[in-house]
Symmetry: C2
């Protein structure tokens, strides 16, 4: 199973009336800080506050009416949950969401506010995959995986379609994209779209230090797992191991991966507040942190940075605002 | 002197390659809080963090090469200052900015970062108009007023051109717009654009309580002044009296004005953080506060809210994040 450019175009046709075409933002002051020209694809402005709404709408819009009648199930630390919950509501089906016990309170509350039923599990002890598969089997629900699902990857690839339009409109000279990476659905979708529309552009992943399973897997040429899933502020993008479907795509197309510290991530959030007026959650800010602070960045006259989500609670954001 | 639709179209032609076409954002969760469907025109995402960059580019792009050689001068509490400073840099001219002594530190620092020279005055004691006119005379500088300047109003009107496109694209049913209002340049520009493109749409102004000179002037049919310019958290939109050019436009086209409390404004900022992932400054949030909390709002299936700027410092934003 893989995803090709036609899948992305078809997904985009199914979802374009539901999603926000997010802006590609530039700030002269941020460029001065970065020492290079940055263009930020602002997915916090996507409906439900992250790119996940794209994949959720793509997957649910592809279901049969019989499947929609029975309902969908998903497991998620929060952003996929919110995307699925709202997409399910829009397509008039019911959503059950399996969330870790330590998911941020605002993500749990928002998921419920969109009308979904939330079931908790203990991260690091129980397997959300097993819980999800079991509930799906018992109740006849369609499982929409957060990244290892071709329809989800195709939906995330709509970011790449928008990007190729925006790069052309602004006549940008782009040879590299930095993308926040958890399971790899967004990165794989964008890389696939770029390979078809802008073959001179290479995607690089960004992850939190200590949880850079994708960077290590790309470096080794095979999937390796993180040692733990606990202890990161970047809850949105901590996953056990690169996806079975996403990793072969990234192995073929991605240029490599970067890892950033929590301190760098919080500083990137503060810079985005100050210069872009954009609220970014930690997991959504790692690519910007890499653009600002990583060594050995790829050369690109215009460097595109995917800012993937903004679902951060007040306490964590206040922490970012006071970092020096 | 007034501004017509052709002036706005010409200004848009001069500046469209420099400005960001800001998105029109919707959030189902914010709609649930408001009890109505809201569409937020997100000018914090404009270059320099507010709509003021539009008017600044419009005015400076209309100057002669001789005027550009001598330089420009402006007075501003901060947002016009930043817009003029960057626009001057882009058009390769020098900017001198007269700012109040109590302007937010981040606005002063950013104005200097864009390359402008900052001159301070004491708000409420000295007249920034006199200081600006005097410096302009002595050094042959072109004064770009913050709102009572046809080229500035025409530039702000580009928000209205974008809105009419976005309303058509999304097939919205809009009969009212709420707009943050200081001197009235943005409101007058948008109202003029709407009168030409969407004559069924009426603009209403929003201001801080105690500083609602425009609401009172519209109600009385003549320009009346605020009793004081000091004591508001909405520094960006506290002006002494509606403009000589802007007020006749608003008197002819606007439906009236709303006033909101500081507490309502801070709550609107927190809701925007949570649901839109957008950083809004107090003065830029009064129209959203009116949409959420004011009585007797105009009926509109889709209510458009102009969010005018996001240049808020960390301390004020942290205050908004902790308001209950």
């Amino acid at each position: 199973m893989t995803v090709n450019f036609t899948d992305i175009e078809r997904a985009h046709q199914r979802i374009s009336h539901l999603i926000t075409k997010t802006p590609l933002l530039n700030s002269p002051r941020l460029d001065a800080i970065a020492g290079r020209r940055l263009w930020l694809k602002a997915e916090p402005l996507q409906v439900t506050g992250s790119f996940k709404f794209r994949g959720a709408c793509s997957a649910i819009s592809a279901l049969s009416s019989e499947a929609l009648r029975r309902g969908v199930i998903a497991y998620s630390s929060g952003n996929h949950a919110q995307g699925i919950a709202l997409a399910a509501k829009l397509f008039k089906t019911r959503a059950t969401i399996v969330m870790p016990h330590d998911a941020p309170a605002n993500k749990v509350a928002n998921t419920r506010a969109y009308g979904a039923v939330v079931v908790h599990y203990e991260r690091g002890v129980e397997s959300r995959e097993d819980i999800g598969a079991d509930l799906a089997r018992r109740h006849g629900l369609s499982l929409v995986k957060p990244y290892d699902d071709p329809a989800v990857i195709a939906g995330q690839g709509s970011v790449g379609l928008e990007l190729s339009e925006q790069i052309a409109e602004r006549e940008l000279s782009v040879s590299a994209i930095l993308c926040c990476c958890g399971g790899g659905g967004l990165s794989a979708g964008i890389a696939t779209a770029m390979a078809a529309t802008n073959p001179g552009v290479t995607l690089y992943t960004a992850e939190p230090e200590g949880f850079e399973d994708t960077a290590r897997s790309l470096s080794l040429g095979e999937r390796v797992a993180n040692e733990t899933e606990q202890g990161s502020i970047c809850d949105a993008i901590v996953t056990p191991i690169p996806g079975e479907i996403t990793f072969p795509i990234l192995k073929a197309l991605a240029g490599g991966g970067f890892a950033v510290s929590d301190d760098q991530t919080l500083r990137a959030m503060r810079y985005a507040f100050d210069t872009l007026k954009l609220v970014i959650e930690p997991g959504g800010a790692v690519a910007l942190a890499a653009a600002l602070f990583a060594d050995n960045l790829p050369s690109s006259d215009d460097l595109v940075v995917i800012v993937s989500g903004g679902n951060v609670d007040e306490a964590m954001f206040a922490k970012a605002l006071t970092i020096s």
